[in-house]
């Protein structure tokens, strides 16, 4: 794991002191709300429906046990005993009091964490594949370049007042788990025929009001030139991105309006201007220092299979189902990647209590080299667990209601906070996720349905990624009443696609029945081995529409 150096410590410490002064001046009346609001937003503090909300950055979704324990402590001391993991691999606290937030941030800084770059028109917290460093066939651990980008972008004077917020995601694997094509910049780490590492760059993806899949701008940017190339993209955007209309200010709109070819030309022209001798690159010693933090932990040499695990699977059918659904093969023989579902049947997607966070932190410390990952699908991961330890880990998880065996299934829904918490919401998201998971609670039924990603947003800002759900649900408001629009065929992986709206919206009472109709239609039409998305891509929208509006 990356550890702060003296500059990081100083920077975060100064920021907390500064914010403490700003809060004091706001409370004393010296600062107006107009002056204070942008300052609190720069420190991750939003005003929501019932209270302030603090968003804490989890860089590339990686946490140590100590850091996760601190989240539990914050939940208990400053909040109401729980936190909410988000689709940007961050954590949000829903109830902190304004005057206590500086103390909270000070405690957070002791574990090298902060809330900087979680809000405002800057380069936001970089996200990455949650299986980084654990999955087989990875070109390079994406957290190395993510950390370099984090250091480069934090407080970069040129990129503090961008036209709009800017999100970067990185993967080092062909299977995209970081939704890189839905980001302002998506980076895929590649290796060429000579064995050199470089980066495929996608620009202009995004969701919200006008969703777009990013366009590939470069096939292979050599390692030493990446920051300069990113700088070129940012400069083109900073210069030409629209500042007159916030709905049109994201780079995706610019790419769309400028056209892919012209955008590529503009970036390359800007890149060419960056003189080779002046090109920003990371000194080798610093790159080595950062890489070393992400080196493999001390894996033991173990057999590829575990008799203990196999016996446990035979004896405990629930454990066997959990292994089948939530365990992913590890690159190292004798180890596994453990997915911890934060989607219990009837639960709130992405929420974890202080006690649950501590339980996961303990497990990570004992069984996973002290590491936890947060996924953009609002689950947690223990990246390096011995096969021999899986049953023990499972038992512990189960004791804390964290062993739901539903990864990637219909009840593993992404849901944004929606109208239960969010000031911008049109409709509630969480109750729908709860009802859907209850309707399809039977795990055998879920396995029979197979991979199916439902994603729910409470408004068009699309924090719940509804555009890229196999089934997407968008909450809309009609005269103070909630309605829900369905879209089908979206996907956030390497074959990313934007879903198509089926037609008129459904009421709160009819939406779950409508989802069941979609699922039944798929089951009636699927051919051997087809997942929902495969069937949808083969048959298209019409058969679903016919049944939905019959």
């Amino acid at each position: 794991m990356y550890r702060y150096d003296e500059f990081d410590h100083q920077l975060v410490g100064e920021r907390v002191t500064q914010f403490r002064g700003q809060v004091e001046r706001r409370v004393s009346g010296e600062l107006s709300e107009d002056a204070f609001k942008p300052l609190r937003l720069m420190n991750g503090v939003y005003l929501q429906l019932h209270a302030y909300m603090l968003r804490v950055a989890i860089p590339y979704g990686t946490l140590s046990s100590k850091q996760l324990r601190m989240q539990a402590h914050i939940a208990r001391k400053y909040d109401r005993g729980y936190g909410h993991f988000t689709t940007r691999q961050n954590i949000q606290f829903n109830w902190p009091a304004l005057d206590k937030i500086p103390d909270l941030l000070e405690e957070l800084a002791t574990v090298e964490m902060h809330a900087i770059q979680t809000s405002g028109n800057c380069i936001r917290n970089v996200t990455a594949d949650q299986y980084a460093g654990a999955i087989d066939n990875e070109v390079e651990d994406p957290r190395i370049i993510s950390e370099i980008i984090r250091q480069w972008s934090t407080f970069h004077p040129e990129f503090t007042y961008l036209p709009r917020k800017f999100k970067i995601a990185v993967t080092g694997h062909d299977n995209d788990r970081a939704a890189i094509k839905l980001h302002d910049i998506g980076i895929v780490i590649k290796q060429n025929e000579l064995g050199d590492i470089g980066y495929e760059i996608h620009v202009g993806g995004g969701q919200g009001r006008t969703p777009f899949i990013a366009k590939k701008m470069a096939d292979f940017v050599p390692k030493a030139q990446l920051l300069a190339y990113l700088e070129a993209v940012m400069r083109v955007y900073n210069r030409l991105g629209r500042r007159d209309n916030s709905y049109k200010a994201r780079i995706k709109i610019m790419v769309h309006e400028t056209g892919e070819e012209e955008m590529r030309r503009l970036i390359e022209a800007e890149f060419a201007k960056i003189d080779a001798s002046q090109m920003l690159s990371v000194p080798q010693a610093e790159a080595d220092r950062i890489s070393a933090y992400f080196a493999n932990p001390a894996f033991a040499a173990l057999p590829a299979t575990s008799a203990a695990m196999e016996t446990a699977q035979k004896q405990d059918a629930d454990f066997a189902r959990w292994v089948r659904a939530n365990i992913v093969p590890h690159k190292q023989d004798g180890y596994a990647i453990v997915n911890i579902s934060l989607k219990p049947i009837g639960g709130v997607p992405g929420d974890a209590t202080d006690v649950q966070m501590e339980a996961v932190a303990d497990l990570a410390e004992r069984y996973s080299f002290d590491e936890i990952r947060v996924t953009h699908e609002q689950n947690l991961v223990l990246p390096h667990v011995r096969l021999d330890d899986l049953k023990t880990v499972y038992d512990e998880l189960q004791a804390h209601e964290l062993a739901t065996a539903n990864l990637g299934l219909i009840s593993d829904t992404i849901a944004c906070p929606g109208l239960d918490y969010c000031n911008l919401a049109n409709a509630r998201s969480i109750p729908l996720a709860q009802e859907i998971s209850e309707r399809f609670a039977d795990l055998d039924r879920q396995y029979d349905i197979g991979e199916l990603k439902i994603k729910i947003s409470g408004c068009i800002n699309a924090c719940g990624h509804h555009h890229v759900g196999h089934i997407g649900i968008l909450g809309v408001d009609k005269k103070g009443t909630e309605f829900y629009q369905i879209s089908l065929g979206g996907s956030a992986d390497e074959n990313a696609s934007i879903g198509t709206i089926t037609g008129r919206a459904f009421t709160e009472e009819t939406i779950v029945d409508a989802i069941e109709t979609v699922v039944t239609t798929y089951k009636d039409m699927r051919q051997d081995g087809e997942r929902f998305i495969d069937t949808y891509r083969r048959v298209g929208l019409d058969p679903f529409k016919e049944r939905l509006y019959a």
Partner: protein, 110 residues
């Protein structure tokens, strides 16, 4: 964000969030900020609504509350209730956590 009041809204109240902790508050008849909706002053008609909102804007409230606005309420027998789902949720708390928010405080008191 959902609309706070429909065009033809007859009854309205003013709400805001408290500066110190973000708690939802309502402007009362004696120009205080109360934590519960039944304490809210209700304006009847558009002009009364504007007058009610004007009472919420004086600079001295800047120290206590954020972003006051008018929202529609409906008459329900002898009482009033917020018209939109948004304001019903603000007045009670998250519908998915009945142990939190004003609804939880109300339970404790009863």
């Amino acid at each position: 964000m959902a609309q706070h009041s429909s065009k033809g809204a007859r009854f309205q109240a003013v709400t805001a969030n408290r500066l110190s902790d973000g708690e939802v508050v309502y402007l009362t008849a004696d120009n205080q900020w109360a934590e519960t909706f039944p304490a809210a002053d209700i304006a009847d008609g558009a002009a009364a609504g504007e007058a009610l909102l004007a009472r919420a804007l004086p600079a001295d409230f800047e120290l206590h509350v954020l972003e006051p606005y008018l929202f529609e309420v409906l008459q329900d027998g002898a009482h009033f209730k917020p018209a939109s789902v948004r304001e019903i949720i603000r007045a009670a708390g998250p519908t998915v956590r009945l142990d939190l928010g004003k609804q939880a405080d109300a339970k404790q008191e009863s």
